[in-house]
């Protein structure tokens, strides 16, 4: 069967290129905007997701993992004695300030534990041995800190809250939503450096369940014993930390607006070019009717043209996102495009292009076949 739709579409290559480019732009914008947002959100919970804790105990109403409040560290003993608790340890996550060699200051979120290995923190060590953290004023610094603190090497010294510390290890992929560098150090060292805020205090309790223990039962008991604390599963805590950034900062709204505008651009471009094309080919559509074609035949032509534009635009936009991913990674920006996002954008692209084509449907439906007799 002769494919009038495809041949007509490709006959005017420039117009087709413009249409496909418009769709590709919209697709790329959605992938990049949502992908970057998901990447940022991933940072908001990456430390939580990699920590080998079944439950997190926080102070009441802690909004996210970066903005902790202190509570007495002695409460961990009440948790350790609960049946079903295999292990419970205090974790300090707190803001410290570096004095850089340049004279500038830079904040850092410090994660402090007594036993990092048990809790799988940090999860990707490039240099150094975690057990050496307990032996003195030592820190591990994440590689991403280079961006805000400048180049560093294992063995370098830095001033942290007025105390001289030595970098004895490097980690990777430990990031925060705000891109504040993450530092790992021994629990006692953190308390001694920031004694005014942290002496006798902690910010979190990590809880690991014993084999066969019921999570909700343990959680209920923790809540009973620690009425002034909140208790979350790992997923709940990760979700809460992410939602804080989505809701409280307006970033979710911003992203939604940008996605909407991107889609609008795509729809307008497709509608404009398809409508213009329809008007230019009105006599041809009239001929289709005159030789016996129905409105349905013409709708099928327009729908196929819109679908081809959608497919080509999606592929181009998707390829663009694939290319941009590594480029953004080189500047420590994460672009996360989960399969469900790919499917949603694919379906949405087709739906929007077909919707744009419907503007032309109305024009076509009203074509008078006698148009073919007019010169």
């Amino acid at each position: 069967m002769v494919d009038l739709a495809l041949k007509t579409l490709l006959h005017d290559k420039l117009r087709f290129a413009i249409t496909a480019a418009g769709v590709a732009f919209a697709v790329l914008l959605v992938f990049v905007q949502v992908g970057l947002f998901l990447g940022l959100l991933d940072n908001a919970s990456v430390t939580i997701r990699h920590t080998a804790a079944d439950l997190w105990v926080t102070s009441r109403n802690t909004p996210n993992v970066d903005f902790a409040h202190v509570f007495p560290e002695s409460r961990v003993d009440r948790v350790r004695s609960i049946p079903g608790v295999a292990r419970a340890d205090n974790l300090i996550a707190w803001f410290f300030t570096y004095q850089l060699p340049s004279g500038a200051q830079e904040g850092s979120i410090v994660y402090a534990l007594k036993d990092f290995d048990t809790w799988s923190l940090p999860w990707r060590v490039e240099e150094g041995r975690l057990e050496d953290l307990r032996r003195g004023p030592y820190i591990f610094l994440d590689a991403s800190a280079v961006k805000r603190m400048g180049q560093f090497r294992v063995g370098d010294y830095r001033e942290l809250n007025g105390r001289r510390v030595q970098i004895i290890g490097r980690t990777r992929d430990a990031l925060s939503f705000t891109t504040t560098p993450i530092t790992f150090m021994d629990y006692d060292l953190a308390q001694s450096i920031q004694s005014q805020s942290l002496q006798g205090q902690t910010t979190y309790m990590l809880v690991k369940l014993a084999a066969g223990a019921d999570l909700e039962t343990v959680r209920a008991e923790i809540r009973r014993r620690l009425p002034y604390n909140d208790v979350y599963t790992r997923d709940e805590w990760a979700s809460r930390s992410r939602n804080y950034w989505i809701v409280s900062t307006g970033l979710g709204l911003n992203m939604g607006l940008t996605v909407f505008l991107g889609c609008l651009v795509g729809v307008v471009v497709v509608a404009q070019t398809l409508y213009t094309s329809t008007m230019e080919h009105l006599k041809e559509f009239g001929t289709v009717k005159a030789i016996g074609g129905s409105n349905r035949d013409i709708y099928a032509i327009l729908a196929k043209q819109a679908s081809v534009a959608a497919l080509v635009g999606f592929v181009l936009g998707g390829l663009g996102a694939l290319v941009l991913g590594p480029v953004m990674a080189s500047v420590d920006l994460k672009l996360i495009v989960p399969p469900v996002l790919g499917v949603a954008v694919f379906v949405g692209t087709f739906a929007l292009c077909l919707g744009a084509a419907m503007i032309s449907f109305r024009k076509v439906a009203a074509i008078d076949p006698a148009l073919v007799f007019r010169t």
């Binding site: 069967m1 002769v2 009038l4 041949k7 007509t8 490709l10 006959h11 006599k283 041809e284 009239g286 001929t287 289709v288 009717k289 005159a290 030789i291 016996g292 074609g293 129905s294 409105n295 035949d297 076949p369 006698a370 073919v372 007799f373 010169t375």
Partner: protein
Amino acid sequence: MPVLEAHDVTKTFSEGREHVPVLKGISLGLARGEIVALEGPSGSGKTTLLSILGAILTPSAGRVVIDGHEIVATRATDLAAIRRQAIGFVFQQFNLFPALTALENVEYALNIKGINHGTARQEAERSLAAVGLADRMHFLPRDLSGGQKQRVAVARALAGQPPILLADEPTANLDSSVGLQILATFRDLAKRDARALLIVTHDPKVRAIADRALRIRDGLLQDGE
């Protein structure tokens, strides 16, 4: 028995509050294999009559009978079905699809009529060969002369074996010699396959190939002999 008949066909168009009568009672008949020229000044109703006979428009009153079946359809889909089965059009402006080759233009018309794949292609090739364009099948319209384009249009009109051919000023955009060739092709093919052919025209050359001529003036038919 005529293959195409019109009985007291009238057509009135509404323009705002005004009602404009274009056809005021037309009756005619075309037999198979008959070639009829329809002449008349501009605005006399030729194109409107052609549109009604071709099931593009419906009359305000009167009857049109195609191959023994009265057209009672008023829905666009039903009229389209009648055109698919019984009518072949040739237009003044050729109205070929610019993105399709000559072969594809004819083949597409067959696809519209429900004939697909190899059968459509073969019939399209035969139609083009019959109008002398066997060596131009794979050319786009932009690469064809005016006469060649009109031959493609004739081949398209003939494809699917419609019993009735309606041509609107088929030679208007052609030079004299090419126009003569087209008319000769029309005549030969119409007579060969016993199709009724109605040609709306200002061209006096058409009379030479027509079996009879009709004149229309002010919405009424006069015998042009």
